[in-house]
């Protein structure tokens, strides 16, 4: 009788598929996973603490570095929180532009998700296709704010530059391209038998699981929980748009992929409506040069690409926040990794990790 014993495999922090620097301690019995322990903190920069010694306006660029593939949403979250704290009214046009860029960024982020998922499943071609299309969105951002990542475009009180006609025209061109792009993905990925069988039924999370872990974003929606901050606690002007929230049923990797895939369609729908109704006017509210929000605290949440991104800011009436806490969706979602990996095979751990879609910049903050 051969004697076997479980062993620990350290995946990361230097590993091709940990999307940055995460260490996962896998307890393995052969190829079967007995447990997975994510060890984080390799990218910790102390952003929350750094913000305490910066003025409110200086804090905004730090939010770019949280979830660096969906920075617009982070900018939006922080700026709205400060606006709520200081009672600043944002002009109509700025609100629309904010929604356009935030949703464009959501598409870009989901494209990264598709790309990384493909490469984690061993299909480099899928990744290149997704990144090619993301490039188009980055070009749009380049037009509107001159940056392709870490935009610092949404500022407290509005946005820093107006949406030029060129940007609108190019965005419309992109929106026409979206259905074509998704059809191509259907041919290359969704319709692929191996891809389907790699994802279907693996790493399921039940409704109870996701609620227990207080997960958010596409990960809970894949398990059938209708929880989208844009709908249930509408911020900015999201209540004016007509869009659906795609839901899954089984909460497996396949559903998580499908939910994000359909969210791209919904985001395109929102952008379409926002462009059609884009009003003229100011893009920046009258914000005092030195911003001193009144004493008090505010918790404000937005639907980031990865889930509920919340900012809790305490003001002591000075120019700098007294305390900032950031509820980072990736950090919370990542807890589920153990539940997802248990009983699966080594190759599934990579797929599970990929479909949670955590971003290390946000996990470690």
């Amino acid at each position: 009788m051969a004697k076997t014993e479980p062993y620990i495999l350290n995946m990361g922090p230097q590993h091709p598929s940990t999307h940055g620097v995460l260490q996962v301690q896998l307890e393995l019995d052969g190829e079967r996973i007995l447990g997975a322990k994510p060890v984080m903190g390799y990218l910790h920069r102390g952003i929350e603490k750094l913000m305490e010694s910066r003025t409110y306006t200086q804090c905004v660029p730090y939010t770019d570095r949280l979830d660096y593939v969906s920075s617009m949403n982070n900018n939006l979250g922080f700026c709205e929180t400060v606006e709520e704290l200081a009672g600043i009214e944002v002009p109509e046009r700025a609100e629309y532009i904010r929604v356009i860029v935030a949703e464009l960024n959501r598409i870009a982020s989901h494209l990264i998700f598709i790309g990384t998922l493909m490469i984690d499943l061993g299909a480099a071609t899928g990744m290149i296709y997704a990144f090619r299309d993301r490039e188009k969105i980055l070009d749009l951002f380049n037009i509107i704010c001159g940056a392709r990542m870490t935009f610092h475009y949404i500022r407290i009180g509005g946005v820093c530059a107006d949406a030029q006609p060129e940007f609108i025209a190019e965005t419309e061109k992109f929106l026409e391209y979206v259905p074509k792009m998704l059809e191509e993905y259907d041919h290359l990925m969704t319709g692929n038998e191996i891809f389907y069988h790699r994802l279907k039924g693996t790493s399921p999370l039940t409704r109870e699981d996701v609620l227990r872990y207080s997960m958010s974003g596409p990960n809970v929606r894949a398990s059938g929980v209708d929880y989208d901050i844009r709908k249930i606690d509408s911020y900015s002007i999201y209540d004016r748009f007509d869009f659906n929230v795609p839901l899954g049923t089984n909460g497996d990797n396949w559903d998580r992929y499908q939910v994000r895939f359909h969210e791209i369609i919904e985001s395109a729908k929102i952008i379409r409506q926002a462009i059609d109704n884009l009003p003229d006017g100011e893009i920046m509210a009258k914000v005092p040069k030195v911003l001193r929000p009144p004493k008090g605290d505010v918790y404000h949440r937005v639907e980031n690409t990865r889930g509920e991104l919340g900012f809790y800011i305490v003001s002591d009436g000075s120019t700098k926040p007294y305390r900032v806490h950031i509820r980072r969706p990736s950090f919370v979602n990542l807890q589920a990794l153990d539940t997802m990996c248990r009983g699966m095979l080594l190759a599934d751990s990579v797929a599970a990790f990929s479909t949670i879609d955590p971003l290390m910049g946000e996990v470690d903050c």
Partner: protein
């Protein structure tokens, strides 16, 4: 009498040497040495050419340009640059490796793929050793490729390597069996294990048309055999870094890399020989040219498959081998048997 180009060249060389040396045995020896030298240069340079080819083909599939800096607009010297870089790398020997096993692995990996070439008929009459168990020899030798992988994985004192090594063995067991049964059909039709006889039998109709099922099974198993995607779970770079190669650097790693391309070439040659009629083809081109055209088409097909599909998971792959390919291969044997019986009876 044979009429291939290689055969004529060999005859001409023999006649040239005859008055100078005058001893049949010594000439035989010299001819063998020349043959081996030519063969090895083909195997080794093919890897260089294929690296470039693979990069360009994969770039084409992935809507990219591919190498375009080193050596002119088309990056023709890219693989030379790659090789130079790999040769100049530091030779890192990790702690705790089982040195001899570890160091032998990248060298031994060439043995099975090089041995395979002894039984391939490149042209009419151009075959190193026309063994009467040719196809059996080819299968037996190619399955030895598993040993260097296991050695490398086991000896490199790395869990990733170990997992990769275990995977090699599992997949070899699961895919060698259907492969043998798939080739059984060909042997039944030909009535011989000789490679030359198998090619000879395809003079009128290629075996891909007589044995389409066997061809498909062989295609899949050949992909597994050579660790090409979507069956490259041994390397599975997103899970186990590079499997058995994880702890190798520089030239040692380059040897694995070269062996991968030598394997790609050898499975393409094998497919061509067994299913695509070897050197047979319309008479306006010499047999040798037809042979290499078919081989390159097969290389292209393997690359195309490899760059399109995601990787299998180990359990899916094993159950596919045992539960799908093996029964289908057995059915194929049965069908071929009935076919051959009816053919003989007619």
């Amino acid at each position: 009498m044979h009429n291939g180009i290689l055969y004529s060249i060999a005859l001409w060389l023999r006649e040239l040497m005859m008055p100078l040396i005058g001893n049949e045995t010594i000439i035989d020896l010299i001819m063998t040495v020349i043959g081996i030298a030519v063969l090895f240069s083909i195997i080794l340079t093919s890897a260089l050419v294929f690296t470039y080819g693979e990069r360009k083909i994969c770039a084409f599939i992935q809507v990219r340009i591919g190498p375009n800096r080193v050596g002119g607009r088309f990056g023709l010297l890219q693989s030379v640059a790659d090789m130079l870089k790999l040769m100049s790398k530091e030779d890192v020997i990790p702690n705790g490796v089982d040195y001899w096993v570890w160091a032998l692995s990248p060298m031994l990996i060439f043995v099975p793929s090089a041995l395979l070439y002894t039984v391939f008929p490149f042209d009419d009459g151009a075959i190193f050793a026309d063994l009467n168990i040719g196809i059996f020899f080819a299968i037996a030798v190619s399955s030895q490729a598993v040993l260097p992988f296991l050695m490398g994985g086991y000896a490199s004192n790395s869990k990733y390597g170990m997992v990769g090594g275990m995977r090699t063995v599992a997949q070899m067991l699961a895919y060698e069996v259907p492969m043998v049964f798939a080739l059984m059909g060909i042997i039944m039709i030909t009535g011989s294990l000789k490679m030359s006889a198998i090619v000879e039998a395809q003079g009128n109709v290629w075996f891909i048309f007589l044995q389409p099922l066997a061809f498909l099974i062989f295609l899949v198993t050949a992909l597994v055999e050579s660790n090409r995607p979507p069956f490259n779970i041994v390397e599975g770079e997103s899970e186990i870094i590079a499997g058995p190669f994880t702890e190798y650097t520089g030239m040692r790693w380059a040897l694995f890399f070269l062996a991968e391309f030598a394997n790609l070439l050898s499975i393409s040659i094998m497919t061509t020989t067994l299913f695509l009629g070897g050197w047979h083809g319309p008479a306006f081109l010499p047999g040798m040219v037809w042979f290499w055209i078919k081989v390159l088409i097969m290389v292209l097909v393997f690359q195309w498959i490899g760059w399109t599909f995601p990787r299998f998971r180990i359990d899916q792959m094993l159950s596919f081998g045992w539960k799908v390919l093996l029964p289908v291969a057995l059915v194929n044997v049965l069908l071929t048997g009935i076919g051959v019986y009816i053919y003989n009876w007619l």
